[in-house]
């Protein structure tokens, strides 16, 4: 076996030590990491720039449309307001109570031997109930029955168009006065009649409540 002498042992050892210098290895690792981080950052920056350009395009499109959209929104709000207000006004108009038909009905009920001296009518509770007060003088052999006939006529007439009709005498008293009606002397009675009714028409007898509900919907 040949003898091998390594005269450069110390130099080789030093060189190996230099190569395995932890600081150097650390620096290399640090640079490697730095390069990786830089690449990652560049990739992110590229994505961000791409997103920014997308945002710019969308912003430009929105700026073009925005005035039109704002105007459309305002117009929609205005129109919705107009529709709602018109509906509310129509409801108000439709729910008004008409007095002319009442006067017509009363005129149909008053016979020549009954006289009306006073008529008072009022709408109560937002058109839910109507109160009418009639004051007058009835003349006849039986003036009280003449007044009762008037009450019956009023009930009959008002039932044709309204519901919950009530007609009651508040006062009915004989008077001493004798009047001449068509050449005949007749006794008289003073009456005050109150008539209450609901302006909503009576449901027809054939109608079932279910049908009424369905129509309301």
């Amino acid at each position: 076996m040949a003898l091998h002498l390594n005269l450069l042992h110390e130099e080789i050892l030093e060189q190996r030590q230099r190569q395995r210098d932890p600081l150097k290895i650390g620096m290399i690792a640090l640079v490697g990491c730095g390069v990786l981080l830089f690449l990652y950052y560049t990739w992110n920056a590229y994505r961000t720039l791409e997103i920014k350009s997308r945002l710019t395009t969308i912003e430009r499109a929105w700026k073009k449309i925005e005035p039109g959209v704002t105007a459309a929104q305002k117009r929609v709000a205005d129109l919705e307001g107009v529709i709602k207000t018109t509906r509310a006004l129509d409801d108000y108009i439709d729910n008004r109570f008409f007095w002319a038909p009442v006067l017509q009905k009363v005129s149909r009920c008053v016979a020549p031997n009954t006289q009306l001296t006073n008529f008072e009518g009022a709408v109560q509770d937002e058109n839910r109930e109507i109160d009418v007060s009639l004051e007058g003088i009835a003349a006849g052999r039986e003036p009280r029955s003449v007044a009762e006939d008037l009450r019956q006529m009023l009930l009959e007439q008002f039932h044709q168009s309204y519901s919950d009709v009530k007609a009651e005498f508040k006062t009915l008293e004989d008077l001493d006065t004798i009047v001449n009606v068509a050449g005949t002397h007749m006794a008289t009675a003073h009456y005050i009649l109150t008539v209450n009714f609901n302006p909503a028409a009576m449901p027809k007898p054939g109608e079932s409540p279910a049908a009424t509900r369905a129509r309301k919907q």
Binding site: L55, V69, L89, R96, E120
Partner: protein, 186 residues
């Protein structure tokens, strides 16, 4: 491999430097970049939803415009029923002229008060209460006049009606009306 004291110190310093580098990278470079990207993505999402909604909104406005033609026409007609100016200035003469046309003279109309509506739809409108006095009217003429008034003035409703005979003139009656007229706020 033996690591001497000096090398340990260098290693420690390198590690510290690396940590510091990472901190700077994430806090001052990548962090703000990501935040700005997320912000932009949110903005894009928001704008995109606005753009999508805008198309719907425009279509809705066009459709509503077509559907609301009747309502807008009716609304304009109802508004046109009442002239410009203070109601106290035009309502009494108008009522007087109306009843004069119906052969009822000497009509006086007084303003009793005005109130607003509770309904939110009618906040732009006011209820004006009037007392209308007809000192000389006959029943038949009055009935026809009231029918005409109720048919031609849809925004007016009579709330009270009183008719009294006149002892001196049996052919005439004294009539009092309480009426409410709806007028748009100016």
């Amino acid at each position: 491999m033996k690591v001497n004291k000096d090398q340990i110190k260098k290693l420690f310093l390198s590690t510290m430097g690396f940590i510091f580098l990472l901190y700077v990278y994430f806090s001052f470079f990548l962090g703000p970049l990501n935040r700005s990207r997320d912000g932009m993505l949110l903005e894009i999402k928001d704008l995109q939803s606005k753009l999508d909604a805008s198309k719907e909104q425009m279509n809705k406005a066009v459709k509503l415009e077509q559907q609301a033609k009747t309502s807008t026409g009716r609304f304009a007609a109802l508004k046109a029923l009442n002239p410009e100016g203070a109601p106290i200035a035009w309502f009494p003469p108008r009522v007087r002229a109306f009843f004069a046309n119906q052969q009822v003279d000497k009509v006086v109309a007084r303003l009793e008060g005005s109130t607003g509506f509770k309904q939110t739809e009618l906040t732009g409108w006011m209820k004006y209460s009037w007392i209308i006095d007809l000192p000389q009217a006959d029943y038949g003429t009055l009935g026809r006049a009231i029918a005409e008034l109720e048919n031609t003035a849809p925004l007016l409703s009579i709330t009270k009606l009183s008719i009294h005979t006149l002892p001196e003139q049996s052919q005439f009656q004294h009539v009092g009306l309480a009426a409410v007229n709806i007028i748009e706020k100016k």
